[in-house]
């Protein structure tokens, strides 16, 4: 427990590390989401064009 308390600065230290982890997770999630959306939009457009032809 002593290690987690960080000499009384635990709240500051752990908040910073958690925030850093969250930023990476959010960036990764948003990058994947953007790629998936673009890919799906193109897929739908190609399919629609194929149906017309």
């Amino acid at each position: 427990m002593g290690g987690l308390a960080m000499g009384g600065y635990g709240a500051y230290v752990w908040t910073c590390f958690t925030l850093a982890g969250l930023v990476f997770v959010i960036c990764e999630w948003r990058a994947r989401l953007r790629h998936r959306r673009v890919y799906r939009d193109i897929e739908v457009r190609i399919k629609a064009l194929g149906d017309i032809q």
């Binding site: 290690g3 960080m6 000499g7 009384g8 600065y9 635990g10 500051y12 230290v13 908040t15 910073c16 590390f17 925030l19 850093a20 930023v23 990476f24 959010i26 960036c27 990764e28 948003r30 990058a31 994947r32 953007r34 790629h35 673009v38 890919y39 939009d41 193109i42 897929e43 457009r45 190609i46």
Partner: protein
Amino acid sequence: MWKFIHQLASPPHFYRISALIVPWLVVPGLLLAGYATYAGLFLAPADYQQGDAFRIIYVHVPSAYLSMMAYLIMAVSAGIGLIWRIKLSHAVAAAAAPLGAWFTFLALATGSIWGKPMWGTWWEWGDPRLTSELIMLFLYFGYMALRGAIDDTTKADKASAVLALVGAVNVPIIHFSVEWWSSLHQGATLVKKGGPAMDPGMLYPLLAMILAFTFLFGALLLRRVRAEVLFRERRTRWVKEMILSGESS
């Protein structure tokens, strides 16, 4: 070498190559981050003045470094796109902006959290590094807003590239602000004459974390550029063929 770079600038080639590179950045990035987190939190000795609060350095410094690195990548890519009209360059610039904004936010937030117990305040407007870093966050917002406001991609590329290049003047200001003006921030610790002014037990986890952030940032950037390339090339034959062939990466 030049042939490889020339090939890499071709959107279809980049799209396929980058998918292969991403795991080679993620795996060492995660391993290094795991080591650096453990060593930084539990193995590094406490600072004789700041105690354990100094451990915030292991996320604050890498994020501050990446906030500037992302801006440089954005400005240089935008400049290359503007001068040589390489399509991929504008895609890189557009992809770097949101990542840069996130890491600038992280640098500001962790700096503010660190400042409270050490300086007794969350924010100090008179500090040149805090203010110039905040200006960089606004530059990222401005760049993204400008891109979003112009429907024509070519026009958006040109206008935002000019903004990115003009705003690049802020990067050396952030870096040298602690030397040029009176600042609450300490001077350079890592990059200074005579080598880093840190105990090796503190220094190695920090270097490992900087490397980890760089690898993971590289992977995130490649992922974003891939999405940007796909969007810009959505009407091309290679994208159509790739999607019809069921290639999902």
